[in-house]
């Protein structure tokens, strides 16, 4: 596992945040996990605005888990912004969503998402997803 790669989770639903943290724990992911509570916070974090300018406390992530439906800025807004930033263009982004709209999936990939995942409903499935993220995105996958 590439332990130095931190993960940013952009998610407004506190329950989903705690569930995913728990799943990361069960999957024994030790990479630092940071949370942005909506799309605008995610943009602020990634651009290093305000308190996020401290890159020791808030390092640029090696993986972004991005919820699609969030207040202020949606996941799609954040994704479009990321792909327009020179230093973030190649950041791996996994979209998370409750919906299963085919158009949304297509739109996300066209905008530059690296994966699109429907949020698992149960804890066993969520732990399995965390294991797969650990095995692929945080281990085997090479970043530029």
């Amino acid at each position: 596992m590439k332990k130095d790669r931190s993960v940013l989770l952009a998610e407004d639903d506190e329950n989903d945040v705690s569930f995913l943290k728990r799943a990361f724990g069960h999957a024994e992911i030790t990479n630092p996990l940071h949370v942005a509570s909506d799309g605008q916070v995610a943009i602020d974090y990634l651009s290093g605005a305000g308190e996020f300018s401290d890159r020791n406390a808030y390092p640029l992530p090696g993986l972004l888990l991005l919820d699609l439906k969030m207040p202020r800025k949606t996941g799609m807004d954040v994704l479009r912004w990321i792909r327009s930033q020179a230093n973030l263009r190649s950041l791996p982004v996994i979209m998370l969503t409750s919906s299963v709209h085919p158009q949304e999936i297509a739109a996300a990939y066209e905008t530059g998402a690296n994966a699109f995942v429907t949020k698992p409903s149960g804890t066993p499935e969520r732990t399995e997803l965390a294991r797969l993220i650990k095995g692929f995105w945080l281990s085997f996958n090479q970043l530029p």
Binding site: N15, D16, K69, S121
Partner: protein, 381 residues
């Protein structure tokens, strides 16, 4: 038939009995003959008309027509069915159709004109009414079209709202449901050893219920999505679609299930996602509704009838009471109650998806003897 002394007498009789006004005049416009038709139409007796100027029949605002008519007659030309207005003895305007031809003497010189006038006042009136009716009809049609356009717009807005609704249905209803399910599971995981079987059971049932509701929401969404717009129709390699479905689903494969495809399957006209949806649901049912402990044996085959193809999914399941077959394809219909998991939407989706491809669906079954569901679609061209 009466006898006529000469052909000129015969002609005179024809002129006299004509419904049309037949008048002759010389090149100065002086009336030289006047038949009973002319008397009936214009109101002048022959005594009143002969020797007078033809101008007495022409309204003030059309007087300039006469010199032009005479001019053409002098040149030996005919005037056919010239529609104009003339006036009667009591000054009533008449709409007439006029034909004027030159009269020549023995050496061929034009010496006058014969005119046949037909009263077309009535016809003109009918024509005007027709034109008015047509205009009215057109304005109705335009009004109707506008109404249709307006309603279509309202409908499209409603559909957009419904789409937004179904979106929030999945997103906003599933989020709390996911939370309930997850918290229950977390509680069960964290306190598993402290709980005895008796206290675990209701928690597990609660989790099962949330899972059931989640499936219901997802199926409802799939169903509402089918309500919109038509789908593109193309030639489908049926067998490829069927094999693809089986390959994608481990629960459609051996040793869980024995599926036999009677190759070749007839190709159909349809839409791949819709057909996939239909067949997945039919296969899912065939796998699900079997007696406990029995291995589902499913046969897929097809037959062409005229321009249609029927795809059959035959199972060795528990079967259906033929009396229940009618309500089977309705929304939320669950004839097997709680014995088998389900939302009662699967076959409603099949019916709707089939209809969207211009097809139909149905079932033949007997309790205990398995079921044979079919999907009828247009044959591939």
């Amino acid at each position: 038939m009466p006898e006529f002394a000469s052909s000129s007498q015969l002609l005179a009789a024809i002129v006299a009995s004509s419904d049309d006004a037949i008048i002759s005049k010389d090149l100065n416009g002086i009336i030289t003959s006047w038949n009973p038709g002319a008397e009936r139409i214009f109101g002048y007796t022959p005594e009143e008309a002969v020797g007078k100027s033809i101008l007495m029949l022409i309204p003030q605002d059309r007087l300039e027509e006469e010199p032009r008519i005479i001019e053409r007659i002098r040149r030996g030309e005919r005037i056919d069915h010239f529609e104009t207005t003339r006036q009667t003895k009591d000054g009533r305007p008449l709409e007439i159709s006029l034909s004027v031809s030159p009269i020549r003497n023995a050496d061929g010189t034009v010496v006058g004109a014969s005119k046949i006038a037909r009263d077309i006042t009535e016809r003109k009136q009918v024509e005007r009414q027709l034109t008015a009716a047509k205009a009215e009809l057109q304005s109705y049609a335009a009004e109707l079209e506008k109404k249709v356009a307006d309603r279509t717009q309202v409908l499209q807005r409603t559909i957009a709202e419904l789409e937004a609704f179904s979106y929030s249905l999945t997103h906003d209803l599933r989020a709390p449901l996911r939370a309930i399910q997850s918290f229950l599971q977390i509680f069960l995981e964290d306190h598993f050893s402290e709980l005895n079987e008796e206290s675990r059971a209701p928690l597990q049932k609660a989790i099962g219920s949330t899972q059931q509701m989640d499936r219901l929401i997802l199926d409802l969404l799939a169903f509402t999505r089918l309500s919109h717009d038509g789908v593109p129709i193309e030639i489908i390699d049926t067998e490829k679609v069927v094999r693809g479905i089986i390959q994608d689903r481990i629960d459609f494969q051996s040793p869980t299930v024995e599926i036999t495809i009677q190759s070749p399957l007839e190709n159909v006209m349809g839409n791949v996602p819709s057909l996939t949806q239909c067949l997945t649901n039919l296969l899912g049912n065939a796998v699900k509704f079997v007696a406990p402990g029995k291995t589902p044996r499913i046969k897929i085959y097809s037959s062409a009838i005229d321009s249609k193809v029927r795809l059959y999914v035959e199972d060795n399941g528990i079967g259906i009471n033929p009396g229940d077959a009618g309500q089977l394809f309705q929304m939320f219909s669950r004839i097997h109650g709680t014995t088998y998991a389900g939302t009662g939407i699967g076959l409603a989706i099949v019916k709707k998806a089939a209809a969207r491809m211009g097809g139909t669906t149905g079932v033949e079954s007997e309790v205990g003897k398995g079921s044979r569901f079919w999907l009828e679609l247009p044959k591939a061209l």
